[in-house]
């Protein structure tokens, strides 16, 4: 592991070759580039590629390392903590969210470097939950359009998925064939069949056949701590190399501390810390893509005399309507050996409760997935959630190979009181650290209560014994939601801030509602759409006009 940047002096790491390099166009700090992007994950990495391919000059900065998975990723949970955002954040509220490895990445490629590759579309009705289902609020984008962008991302990542997906409107074939479902997934399948609901092989962003220099998945099961074979189609091995090939510059180990504002109230660039010093990159447009905590934090930390409450915050809601997804689970032991460490952790899925309303006492949706935690993560469940210790813990852990589990990705409804704000403490760079406040609402509790009951029955029907539930959260969304009204949203549907015409947001913080599916496919679809919209606006000469003029 190196602590000095790798991407500089005209070259960047070749992610497909140990010790390899590829040429990279580099800009000087004083050059005014078209776009500077903060963060290179699902949102920022994708947008860097789209904008570079559209011919814009792009510099994308990330606080994390630029890894070469083949040489940098060990098969070891402790060591791979290096992929996570581990700077101090304060977590509070009635149901404080566990952060760090649970949801936050810090690498070129962002959280997609350690995500578990589940690649789902939000159902059209849930994108219009207010007008079609009567709860929360609508996304400011037509579902048909989102679904076209889903197809673009699925092709870009060569998603491996089932021939027939049982839920929702018809969709095209997934680009690659599905993976063989492991025993942990077959437990879900068996349970669902007994319960009379459909199941499917999960659409996954890991290739089931060779793709260029990426080998097919070898079912090693370490996905959540980084894929050392490059089978996983993270932003690091897909959008980032494409972006660099199209002329984008990526700067690793570059922490942005502030967005700078000129006298005309427009963004002029960013102040960032790299190689021990503060530097300034000038840009005609600034895009923030730091995920649902760091994006609001940066906007708030960039307060200046003209915008004393932080940037893009005339509505006062930057940081608000923050939503984790509920991630409750049931666990039980099976007669058979399951050995859930083999294969990607979530190989089978049931989206029944995203598409069915009958029998529910809450408005939101959820899916549930089969599981395969590695030993350390599993010990957090058995010791942490179940509270076991002593010989009892060791003996329970020894049932590892017989355990199976089901876990939801549950929709948490937006509430103003759930928020990201600045604490009074500062980090090592002198930047105020974020405080995250979260508490479930009544509807959220009904949702996970329903999910635990249903999954318990399902696991029981599949043959699970000694079943116990666990509470958890995953995926962080909202905090800078997009919308149609400047009074109750931070950006318009293009991620363009209402207040500052050349300040954009492109990441999970844009979500107005969280929906009951894993978010990264949607974040990437939004980024593709934003990229296309920016290119179209530029060609019409609209980039220099304020967003409000085109609302």
């Amino acid at each position: 592991m190196t602590d000095s940047p790798r991407a500089k002096d005209g070259r960047a790491p070749d992610v497909f070759r140990a010790g390899g390099w590829i040429p990279m166009r580099c800009h000087r700090d004083q050059d005014e580039v078209d776009f500077v992007i903060v963060g290179t994950g699902a949102g920022g990495g994708t947008l860097a590629c789209k904008l570079a391919e559209a011919g814009f000059s792009v510099v994308a900065l990330d606080a994390g390392h630029f890894w070469r998975p083949l040489e940098d990723f060990a098969s070891d949970e402790l060591h791979q903590q290096k992929l996570y955002w581990r700077s101090e954040r304060i977590t509070g509220g009635d149901d404080p969210v566990t952060l760090g490895s649970n949801n936050s990445g810090r690498s070129v490629g962002g959280s997609t470097v350690h995500f578990t590759m589940v690649s789902l579309r939000i159902s059209p009705d849930r994108l219009k939950s207010r007008s079609r289902l009567g709860y929360a609020l609508d996304w400011p984008i037509e579902p048909e359009e989102m679904w076209r962008y889903y197809a673009e991302v699925e092709d870009a990542l060569k998603i491996s998925g089932p021939v027939h997906y049982p839920w929702g409107p018809p969709r095209g074939r997934y680009p690659y064939r599905p993976h063989e479902v492991n025993a942990a997934g077959l437990v879900l399948a068996r349970g669902c069949e007994k319960m009379g609901v459909a199941w499917a092989a999960t659409p996954l962003a890991t290739v089931s056949a060779p793709r260029g220099r990426a080998h097919p998945c070898v079912y090693r099961g370490f996905c959540a701590i980084g894929c050392s074979t490059n089978a996983k189609q993270s932003a690091l091995v897909t959008w980032i190399p494409r972006a660099i090939a199209a002329g984008a510059e990526i700067r690793d180990l570059a922490m942005v501390g502030r967005i700078e504002i000129g006298r005309d109230g427009m963004a002029t660039g960013v102040l960032y810390h790299r190689e021990g010093e503060w530097r300034r990159q000038r840009a005609r447009n600034v895009v923030v893509a730091g995920y649902a905590i760091e994006t609001p934090r940066l906007l708030l930390n960039s307060a200046c005399p003209m915008f004393p409450n932080g940037l893009a915050n005339s509505s006062g809601i930057v940081g608000k309507y923050f939503m984790p997804q509920s991630n409750h689970a049931v666990w039980g032991t099976m007669e058979e050996e399951i050995r859930w460490y083999k294969g990607p952790p979530c190989m089978a899925i049931c989206e029944h409760w995203n598409y069915t309303h009958a029998g529910k006492d809450f408005p939101g949706g959820y899916c549930f997935l089969s599981q395969g935690p590695l030993p350390m993560e599993w010990s957090h469940s058995v010791a942490g959630s179940r509270g076991l210790w002593g010989m009892e813990l060791r003996q329970e852990m020894a049932k590892y190979n017989h355990y199976a589990g089901l876990k939801i990705v549950g929709e948490v409804l937006p509430q103003e009181k759930n928020r990201v704000e600045l604490a009074d403490e500062e980090d090592e760079l002198g930047l105020r650290i974020p405080r995250v406040i979260f508490g479930y609402g009544e509807e959220d509790k009904k949702l996970y209560g329903h999910a635990i009951r249903f999954m318990r029955d399902c696991l029981d029907a599949a043959g699970g014994k000694d079943i116990w539930p666990e509470e958890d959260t995953a995926h962080l969304l909202g905090g800078c939601r997009m919308g149609t009204e400047p009074a109750n949203s931070v950006t318009n549907a293009d991620g363009r801030s209402w207040d500052i015409a050349n300040l954009w947001i492109c990441d999970g913080s844009l979500f107005p509602t969280s929906a009951g599916v894993n978010p990264s496919l949607t974040i990437q679809a939004l980024a593709c759409r934003i990229g296309d919209r920016i290119a179209a606006m530029a060609s019409r000469g609209e980039l220099s006009h304020p967003a409000r003029a085109f609302a």
Binding site: A74, D76, S101, C217, G390
Partner: protein
Amino acid sequence: MSGEFQSRFPGYNVLDKWDSPSWNEQTRRVIKDRLENVPERRFFSEQEWTTLHAICARLIPQPDRADAPVPIVPFIDKKLHNNEGDGYRFETMPPMREAWQRGIAAVDAECRVRHGTAFAELPDNLKDATLRAIQHGDVRSETWRDLPAKKFFEIMLRQIVSIYYAHPAAWTEIGFGGPASPRGYVRLGFDRRDPWEASEAHD
């Protein structure tokens, strides 16, 4: 519950795969370091070190490895010495280093209130009873007043098990396949096992 640990995987040792295609160079480097370079005490005081050892011996008892238990406290000490956080701190808790120092002192103080002696001096049954009380927030010592006992216990236990289950000895005892790159697995179904996986004893 105490007593001996019953292995379901006699004869299995993940380390036997060290030179096989399941282990790549970077994994060997990381695990070799973990096994050979057990950190020295740099952060904790001697008293804290002793108390925490005694706590670990109850939370993760290792009577089956009396001579060479999996080291846990040295790695917690290292983490605190380097001030490497996990990326979050509960609002109700002081900063990490302070939480550990005060928490360990509070465990001893709790034992003094209840039994008139420090944790390490107590017999195992009283150690366990005290730990259980702390786990449930049922505490009497003043030292917990602005340090939530339940939360401290939870954080401490999570840290201790993280270190234990990151050790090859723990992987072996639960029958985990261990490191797996470049070679992964082929047989994925119910009751299927590749030749390089642990085989389970059936009684």
